[in-house]
């Protein structure tokens, strides 16, 4: 009996080792919980080529854009934990959803982070015709005219909203926050000079900054890696006395329970892809040099961002 048991164990164990040893032997599907053509989708597609090369198999991007970005996350949660279905989204997009909405998942803990690939802070822009050169200057003006100056954001309950509320809350700035229905509408309103300041993820609108149409007046994190030296030293919120780091790190997650060996292999592929020349080239063209985070570093970052969100929500956003 003991022998039979041992044989079965051996067969199963041996078989699973063979399966793992072969991983990956078919296409890997990356789910992006937003529609095609947006920032996260473009980065995912830029990354897919390098990732495919590192993993040696095809990588297919699938846009699952229902439920305000939640359906894609849920699909990955429910997927077989075999390393063939992964999620690629922004850290603060996940955190925003689970902090401000009732979701059947948590940003930290419901999936296994397997690596961060691209970090960009949220920055603050103003049309050149407004004449603003620093955030402090606009805050001062807004304080003198509370509720008159407008701050455009790309959507409610995301990183942009958190940054706008942090500025309003910590500095008592009194901006009227206008939530547009995405980056494209906000971009248009900014170029058309319809709003006083625009809060958007860098490096969106960088070409317009380079062309002298827009000014960068503040940032939620360091712009040291942006491909325009002139604005690399832009003052961060912290340097202005606002204790908040706001940005987004696009990263990958695997379903809970994915075998450790598979996770290890994925980490290896992601690191190779994220630090590859191909992805660097894409990042530089996109406007921001990529930065790789190991799964451990990515998890730490998620925890940190979660605490910032919870803090700002508790202090200024829970009416």
């Amino acid at each position: 009996m003991r022998n039979i048991f041992l044989s079965i164990t051996f067969i199963i164990f041996g078989f699973s080792q063979i399966v793992l040893a072969d991983y990956p032997d078919k296409a890997i599907r990356i789910i992006v919980p937003y529609k095609a053509g947006g920032g996260t989708d473009t980065i995912a597609r830029g990354f897919a080529g390098a990732f495919s090369k590192a993993a040696g198999v095809d990588v297919v991007i699938t846009n699952v854009n229902g439920g305000a970005g939640s359906k894609g996350v849920i699909q990955v949660q429910k997927a077989k934990a075999d390393g063939y279905t992964l999620l690629l989204t922004g850290s603060t997009d996940m955190i925003g959803l689970s902090t401000f909405r009732k979701m059947p998942f948590k940003a930290v803990g419901s999936l296994d982070p397997v690596g961060g690939i691209y970090t960009t802070p949220t920055y603050i822009l103003a049309h050149k015709d407004r004449g603003y050169t620093s955030l402090e200057e606009v805050i001062k003006k807004s304080k003198a005219n509370p509720g008159k100056l407008t701050a455009g954001i790309g959507g409610k309950f995301g990183a942009h909203d958190v940054l706008a509320n942090a500025v309003n809350g910590y500095k008592n700035a009194g901006f009227r926050i206008i939530a547009y229905d995405g980056g494209a509408s906000l971009k248009k309103a900014t170029i058309a000079n319809e709003i006083d300041i625009c809060i958007i993820h860098s490096p969106v609108l960088l070409n317009e900054v380079k062309a002298g149409l827009l000014n960068v007046i503040g940032t939620g994190g360091s712009l040291a890696k942006i491909t325009y030296p002139k604005i690399q030293g832009t003052k961060t919120l912290r340097e202005m006395g606002i204790p908040a780091d706001v940005g987004v790190t696009r990263g990958l997650w695997a379903p809970k329970g994915t075998p450790k060996d598979v996770i290890k292999k994925l980490e290896k592929f992601i690191k190779a892809a994220a630090t590859s020349e191909k992805f660097k080239k894409f990042g530089n063209n996109f406007g921001f040099g990529p930065k790789y985070y190991s799964s451990k570093a990515f998890l730490d970052l998620l925890n940190l961002e979660q605490s910032v969100y919870t803090d700002i929500k508790g202090k200024f956003m829970s009416k």
Binding site: T42, A68, K71, S185, G287
Partner: protein
């Protein structure tokens, strides 16, 4: 500028580029003609295939698909009343009755002429007036878009002549369906019933294939044992001549104008332009009562506007980096992936690709015309097949279209539900087109009105701030009073009878 364009044409005539553009256009026509499938879906599937290509050939394939699907979508709207996109939904209003009257080939011919002509005129307008079109895209603020949306809704309320109340109820139901989900401004959940699926509202694709495609199949189930009623004995292959088309100059000139100008306005673009063109042509027609029953002008106006939006949407995408619709949004992503930087500097940094794309846009229109005119017989042949063969395909592709919109099963359920609902509504004399109109224009009007008011600090006078807004508002008021006047006259006439 013109030197650049000549260079662009030279690049397009490179054998490989030319072949790719042709293949893209052909594929676009085919995908568009399949009920429920649309241009963004086809472009996104092709995107990985184009990675290995240079930037221009890759984008030319996409432009071919973009142009081809515009007309292809109208083919399925005319033949099967199952539009693949909100823009081609309008073509179904008169296109499908024409097909039912045995004039399927005529309707397809008019649609092909119109698409070609709309694309051509809007290309000329777009290329010669790049600064003006860019300015229209940039200067049209939320208040303008809201007013244009309301104008469209009021204009098309003329569809409901005869049963004003039922039409009005249809629009209201459409507006209610359109208001489901998280509102775009405050992220408040409305009519979601606690369902995560409904957070982003009812998917457009589900509404279209459900209210049109599924409900048509349901209402025609009684004809399952016969071949298509659309052809019967009356059927013959008859194509419109260029002369016939030219005679209807009013419809295509109005369509082209709306296509090029409204198409440039992000957020309302193609979806709004077709309805506005249709409404305007109908309101200016000597025989408005013929619309909805198979009037060629009712195919020509939305079709010229539909392809007319290609030029209007492409210019702001290339000059400002602002997408006019879902397809151009994906093309912006593709520009990044091919090492270009879309935005205000693209005309300088990627001039060769920009001019190549503009030249490709015109060539794709010509290719589309040639392929489509030749393919009409083939499409009509398909239509002649037995319904028991045809309907399963319609159902499969409509389901596929709904699924592919979110890569999720929920839109399929929504489409089936709306299909049954649409069928029941039609049976009771409520035109489903009014529901679709509410679903399409409702969210545009609501969102833009709210943003306009937020920007203007709740000052309603913002809707009268500029001359264009005053003009649009004037038209809206005129249309409303005209409708009331017409209604009173009809009432008086019916009393005297």
């Amino acid at each position: 500028m013109f030197e650049g364009l000549i260079g662009g044409f030279a690049n397009c005539f490179d054998p490989i580029n030319f072949t790719l553009l042709f293949l893209g256009t052909f594929l676009g026509l085919l995908v568009g003609a399949l009920p429920g499938l649309s241009s963004p879906m086809a472009i996104i599937i092709l995107l990985p295939v184009t990675y290995s290509l240079e930037a221009l050939p890759a984008l030319l394939v996409m432009i071919g698909v973009y142009v081809g699907t515009k007309l292809g979508g109208s083919f399925s709207a005319i033949l099967l009343r199952t539009p693949g996109t909100p823009a081609s939904a309008c073509t179904a209003i008169d296109g499908f009755p024409m097909a039912e009257n045995g004039q399927a080939s005529l309707a397809l011919g008019y649609a092909t002429y119109s698409s070609f002509f709309g694309g051509l005129t809007s290309w000329i307008i777009a290329v010669t007036c790049i600064p003006i079109i860019s300015a229209v895209a940039l200067k049209s603020s939320n208040a303008d878009i809201a007013l244009i949306g309301i104008m469209g809704l009021v204009m098309v309320s003329a569809f409901t002549r005869g049963s004003m109340l039922k039409g009005f109820i249809g629009v209201c139901i459409g507006l209610l369906i359109g208001s489901m989900g998280m509102d775009k401004s405050d992220a408040i959940e409305r009519f979601t019933f606690g369902s995560l699926d409904l957070l982003t509202g009812v998917p457009f694709a589900a509404a279209l294939v459900g209210l049109f495609g599924f409900s048509v199949v349901l209402s025609d189930l009684s004809l399952m044992k016969t071949t298509s009623q659309l052809i019967t004995e009356k059927f013959k292959i008859e194509l419109p001549s260029f002369k016939d088309f030219c005679k209807r100059w009013r419809a295509w000139s109005i369509g082209s104008f709306f296509g090029a100008v409204v198409g440039a306005i992000p957020g309302v673009g193609a979806d709004g332009a077709t309805w506005l063109a249709y409404g305007t042509v109908k309101n200016n027609s000597k025989n408005p009562e013929k619309f909805g029953l198979g009037e060629p002008d009712g195919v020509i106006a939305p079709e010229t506007a539909n392809n007319g939006t290609t030029g209007g949407a492409m210019v702001p995408m290339l000059t400002l980096g602002i997408p006019g619709d879902a397809s151009t949004a994906i093309m912006i992503g593709a520009l990044y992936l091919h090492g270009l930087q879309p935005g205000v500097t693209l005309m300088k940094t990627g001039a060769e690709v920009v001019y190549g794309m503009l030249a490709g846009l015109l060539l794709a229109g010509i290719m589309m015309f040639v392929i489509a005119m030749g393919a009409i017989r083939f499409f009509v042949y398909i239509l002649r097949q037995h319904r028991s063969l045809l309907f399963p395909f319609v159902m499969v592709f409509a389901t596929l279209g709904a699924y592919a919109s979110y890569n999720e099963i929920f839109p399929v359920y929504a489409a089936i539900f709306l299909g049954v609902f649409g069928f029941l509504m039609e049976e009771r004399g409520f035109p489903v087109v009014t529901i679709v109109l509410g679903v399409i224009l409702g969210p545009i009007i609501e969102y833009n009105t709210r943003i306009a008011l937020q920007v203007a600090d709740a000052n309603w006078l913002t809707f009268m701030d500029t001359l264009p807004r005053i003009i649009i508002l004037g038209i809206i008021i005129f249309l409303v009073f005209n409708e009331i006047k017409q209604g009173l006259i009809r009432e008086k006439l019916s009393k005297t009878k």
